[in-house]
């Protein structure tokens, strides 16, 4: 095994532990738990009331627009990480802290325009 891949052994162990716990919980509950099925028990759970209508109903398109905003900020977050990691070193190398700061702030400001636009268009107004 090459040297640099050895760093990922803890990650592998955490994956293994997570899947071990998940499978153990599923298998033990199946083996040990009593299974008495009644009609009420098999009903879909809806906060204690009797379920109304089909669960596979269509959603409002508003959820899609909120999803779109999530993508906006997701990409912003993943781009912010390398910037934050190199900020100090780059500011020293270029001798100009403000420039490195402004680079990212222009990026964030552009995306923020999109956020304000979506807000003004009434996506967050759930009553409409």
């Amino acid at each position: 095994m090459s040297n640099d891949l050895q760093n990922y052994i803890p990650l592998l162990m955490s994956f293994g532990l997570a899947s071990l716990i998940a499978t153990t919980l599923l298998i033990t509950s199946r083996l040990l738990g009593p299974r008495i099925q009644t009609r009420e028990k098999l009903m879909p759970y809806e906060c204690g009331n009797d379920p109304v209508g089909n669960a596979r109903d269509r959603f409002s398109v508003k959820f899609y627009l909120v999803c779109l905003l999530f993508i906006l900020f997701d990409i912003e977050a993943i781009i912010l990480i390398p910037w934050a990691v190199v900020y100090r070193a780059l500011a020293e190398e270029l001798g100009n802290k403000l420039f490195v700061y402004a680079e990212m702030m222009i990026f964030v400001a552009t995306l923020f325009v999109g956020y304000i636009y979506v807000w003004k268009k009434g996506v967050f107004d759930w009553s409409k």
């Binding site: 269509r58 899609y64 627009l65 779109l68 780059l90 680079e103 964030v108 636009y117 268009k121």
Partner: protein, 165 residues
């Protein structure tokens, strides 16, 4: 065969299996989940190559954001599995498999003999290296990316929003 090559074959099988499942499964929701396994395999391959940042971004952006958008739209439109139906052009079905094989063979021949200039090192794709290049030499494409995403959000909002009646 070294351990790394075995690891590559395992992840490549995950990637290809996910990809084939996307094409074969009739329900788009299952296809989306198969695509997520394919992305996870790709992310592991990136990390194996030493491109740690791309591997992380693959999970966060592709498996996290883009696939979530797909699954959401599938739920939103309440898409069911495609029903079987008679193909309109029957001869095209028989043409498809040979052409697909031809495409694969052509691509294979094009890339099979390529040699790398140097051995990959673990430092090739660290977050520091990516960030430093992104913030200095390739600043303009980086800033323009934000404009692209802004345009996409504005356009998608107008397309998806229900017009007032």
């Amino acid at each position: 065969m070294t351990f790394q090559q075995l690891l590559f074959i395992g992840f490549a099988a995950l990637v290809l299996g996910g990809g084939i499942a996307v094409v074969l499964l009739r329900n788009p929701l299952y296809g989306a989940f198969a695509l997520i396994t394919s992305f996870v395999g790709l992310s592991a391959l990136y990390v194996m190559m030493g491109a740690q940042f791309i591997g992380a971004a693959q999970i966060v952006v592709y498996a996290g954001a883009i696939m979530m958008l797909f699954v959401f739209v599938i739920m939103l439109l309440n898409v069911r599995a495609d029903e079987e139906r008679p193909p309109r052009h029957r001869f095209l079905v028989w043409l498809a498999a040979p052409l697909a094989l031809l495409l694969s063979a052509g691509l294979w021949l094009a890339v099979a003999g390529v040699q790398g200039d140097r051995a990959p090192s673990g430092e090739a794709g660290t977050v520091e290296r990516v960030g430093k290049n992104l913030m200095t030499r390739y600043l303009l494409p980086f800033e323009l990316t934000s404009v692209l995403i802004l345009l996409a959000v504005v356009g998608a909002l107008h397309l998806a929003k229900r017009e007032k009646e």
